[in-house]
Symmetry: C2
Subunit: 389 residues, 2 copies
C-alpha cells in the first residue's frame, strides 16, 4: 500500500516575462536549436517573434520544423529527426501545446535512431538516448510540459500510441498563462477535459486504497478546473483563470498525485482509438466517453466512489443512497461537460457511427483486458462506444 517512486526534474518558469531566461537555459545544452511548432498560431499571437528575438540576441543557430499536427504523426517525427541528424542539433525548443511537445519528445529520441521513428513508439527498438528539450507551453491540457510521455499517431495503420521514457522529460518549461489567451472556447473546453481525465483515469477512480492527502489534493485540482474552465471560456484574457488551468494541467499528470496506485488510463485508451480512426480533438472524445464509462462500470461496488466524487466536487447531497448519489454525480459531470463547457455530447453529432467500433474496441484493450476500477474487455468497450452514439 502506498509504495511509489517519485521524481520530476523539470524546471518550471511560471508567469509573465520569463522568456528573458530562455537563452541562459538553452545555452547549457549548446548552440544549435531546432524550433518546433504547429500550424502557426504562435505567429499570430506574436510569440514566434518574441522567441526569435531572444534566440537572435544570443546568437543561436536556429532551424525550424513547423506544421506539427494536432495528433502528431510519426512521419513528422521522422522529418524532425532528419533535421537533427543533418544539422547536428544540440537542443530542441518546442513552442506549442501537447501535440507539439509530444512530437518533439519523439524527435529527441528518434534523432539517435537511424530507422523509422515508429519503431521507437511501438517499442520495437528501445529509447537509449535523447536530445534535451525545452518547452514553451501555449495550451493547458496534456501535461506534456512536465512529464516524460508522448503520444504519436500512425495515420496509415490507424494507431495512436504512447511512448514513455525518463529521457523525454523536458529540462525546462516556460508556463506563461498569457500565452493561452488566444485559445478559443472549444479548445479551452477540450484542454480542460483532458486535465480532468488525467486525474480521473490515472489516480482518482481506482479500486486501490490511496493516500488520503493525495486524494484530497486530486479533488482540489479537479475543483480548480471545474471552477476556472468556464471563466476562461467566458473571459479568454482572465489571467487568474488561465494561470490556474495551466498549473492544473502540469499537476494532473506529473506524478505528484501518484500514490502507487496508478492504473491503465482507461478512458484515454478508448479515446485514443477515436482520434486514431477519426482524428478528432482528444478532449472532445474524452468528454463523450467519460460519463458513459462511468455509467457502464456503475454497480454496488463502484457506486460509493462515484458518489464521493459527486459529494466532494459537485456538492451532491451526502444523505442520498450510494447508487442515487453516484447517478447524480454522473449527471452533474455530464451537465458540466455538455452544458457548462458546451461540448458536443454524442459521437453521432460529430459524424462517427458504429462502423469501426469492433476493431477499435479490440485495439483499445490491447487484445485482452484493461485493468481499471472494473476490468474491461473488448466487448465491454464496444458497448461503451455504442452508448456514445
Amino acid at each position: 500500500m502506498y509504495n511509489f517512486i517519485f521524481q520530476n526534474t523539470t524546471k518550471i518558469y511560471f508567469g509573465e516575462n520569463q522568456l528573458q531566461h530562455l537563452s541562459e537555459e538553452l545555452k547549457q545544452y549548446g548552440n544549435r536549436i531546432l524550433l518546433t511548432y504547429g500550424g502557426g498560431s504562435i505567429k499570430k499571437i506574436g510569440l514566434y517573434d518574441k522567441v526569435m528575438d531572444e534566440l537572435k540576441k544570443a546568437n543561436f543557430s536556429v532551424f525550424e520544423l513547423s506544421g506539427i499536427e494536432p495528433n502528431p504523426r510519426h512521419t513528422t517525427v521522422n522529418k524532425g529527426a532528419d533535421i537533427c541528424k543533418k544539422e547536428n542539433i544540440d537542443v530542441l525548443l518546442a513552442v506549442g501545446g501537447g501535440s507539439t511537445i509530444d512530437c518533439t519528445k519523439a524527435i529527441s529520441a528518434a534523432a539517435f535512431y537511424d530507422g523509422d521513428s515508429w519503431d521507437l513508439v511501438t517499442h520495437k527498438v528501445p529509447v537509449t538516448k535523447a536530445l534535451p528539450i525545452v518547452t514553451i507551453l501555449t495550451l493547458s491540457a496534456t501535461g506534456s510540459e512536465m512529464d516524460s510521455g508522448a503520444v504519436i499517431s500512425n495515420i496509415d495503420t490507424n494507431e495512436k500510441l504512447g511512448l514513455l521514457h525518463p529521457l523525454l522529460q523536458p529540462k525546462v518549461s516556460f508556463l506563461d498563462p498569457a500565452n493561452t489567451y488566444s485559445v478559443n472556447a472549444f479548445q479551452t473546453a477540450c484542454g480542460s477535459v483532458d486535465i480532468l481525465s488525467h486525474i480521473f483515469d490515472c489516480y482518482y477512480f481506482t479500486a486501490s486504497k490511496k493516500m488520503d492527502m493525495a486524494d484530497r489534493i486530486m479533488e482540489e485540482v479537479i475543483k480548480t478546473v471545474i471552477k476556472y474552465a468556464p471563466i476562461a471560456i467566458k473571459e479568454p484574457e482572465n489571467y487568474e483563470a488561465r494561470a490556474n488551468l495551466m498549473w492544473a494541467s502540469s499537476w494532473a499528470l506529473n506524478d505528484f498525485l501518484t500514490t502507487g496506485v496508478s492504473q491503465v488510463p482507461v478512458c484515454h485508451a478508448m479515446e485514443h482509438e477515436l482520434s486514431a480512426f477519426y482524428d478528432i480533438t482528444h478532449g472532445l472524445g474524452l468528454a463523450i466517453i467519460t460519463p458513459r464509462w462511468m455509467k457502464y462500470v456503475l454497480d454496488e461496488t463502484t457506486a460509493p466512489q462515484f458518489k464521493k466524487f459527486g459529494v466532494n466536487i459537485f456538492g451532491v447531497d451526502e444523505s442520498l443512497p450510494d447508487m442515487q448519489g453516484a447517478e447524480r454525480a454522473i449527471e452533474c459531470l455530464s451537465d458540466f461537460l455538455f452544458n457548462t463547457l458546451g461540448l458536443q455530447s454524442t459521437l453521432t453529432e460529430i459524424g462517427i457511427d458504429d462502423k469501426n467500433f469492433k476493431i477499435m474496441a479490440k485495439k483499445a484493450c490491447w487484445g485482452s483486458v484493461l485493468p481499471s476500477l472494473k476490468p474491461l474487455g473488448a466487448q465491454d468497450i464496444e458497448e461503451i462506444f455504442k452508448m456514445c452514439l
Copy 2:
C-alpha cells in the same frame, strides 16, 4: 503576480521495503560512504542494522559520524567535513530526522572548504561544491528530505541560521512511514507543528495574492496534518497516519506549494532564537509562538485571512463577522496545539523567562524588519515573546 521558478529534483522512494534500492542509488556516486546519524535511536529500531546489511552486501567502504544533536552544531559539521576530507568520501548517507539531514547537508558543502563551516552558514564564504546526499527519513517534520535548506546552530554565539543552496538538495530520499513508528507522542506533536508552520509561515498567511489552486492544496496539507497527527499520537503504528504525515512533511516545504509569494518565515525566525538560546525542541517553540503571533498581527486588514483559515480548516461559522471569525480560528488552533496535541502552552512552563527577549528579538528581525503579513520590528517581536510567558 504568480511568477515563480520551480524545480525539485529529489528522487523519492516512498513506502515499505524500498531499501533494496539503496545500494543501486548510492553506487552512482562512488564507493566511500559517510553514514551520519543522531543519538542512536536508529539502532534501537533496527534501522542501523538494516542499512548496514545493505551496504555490506554491496561492499561499500562505510565511515560513520554519530551523535548529531537535535539542533545540530557547526562543530559537528566540522567533524563530519574532516572525515570527508581524510577518508575521501564520495557520498553522504543521512539516516535520521531533519537535524541529521541538515547537519549532513552542511557537511556536504564544508567537505570542500578548508576553514570553519560556520563561515558557510554565515555566508562569509559561498557554497561552491557539495558531496551528493542520500537520506533515510525517521521523523516527519522539517521537509529537509526534499529541499535544499539546512539550519545549523552555533552554541558559542547563540545563533541558529539557515543555509540554502541548490547543491544541498538530496539526490534520493527514502521515506518509509514505518521508520517513524517509534517516534514518541511529544516528538510526533512537535514534528506536526513544524509541518504546519512551514505552510503557515512560507505560503499560507501572506498579504500577496496567491494562486487559488495552490491555496486550496495548502489547506488540504494542513487538514491532513490536523487529521493524522492525533491519530499517530494515539496509535503510533498506524501506517496510514504515519504515511500521510510523512508525505505532508515533504510537501510543506519543497516549493510545490509556492506561488511566487513566499515570504520571510516569521514564526520560524522567532523560534530559531528560542532554540538558539535555550536548545528547546523546534516544534514546541513554534506551537507556543504561532497563536501569539496571530493575535499580535490580528486587525481589520488581517482578520479576513485568519477567518478564512478558521472556516476552511476548523469549520468555523462562516457567517461570523471577520474579527470574531478570526478570533475563533486562533482559539481553534490553540485548542489543537495545546489540548489535542498536548503541547505545553507557555514559555514559563518550559522554564524560559524574559531575560533574553530584547536581544533575541533584535536577532530575530535581522536588525531591521521582518516583512510578513504585517511587518515586524524588534519591539513587535519582543512583545510577541512576552505574550508567550
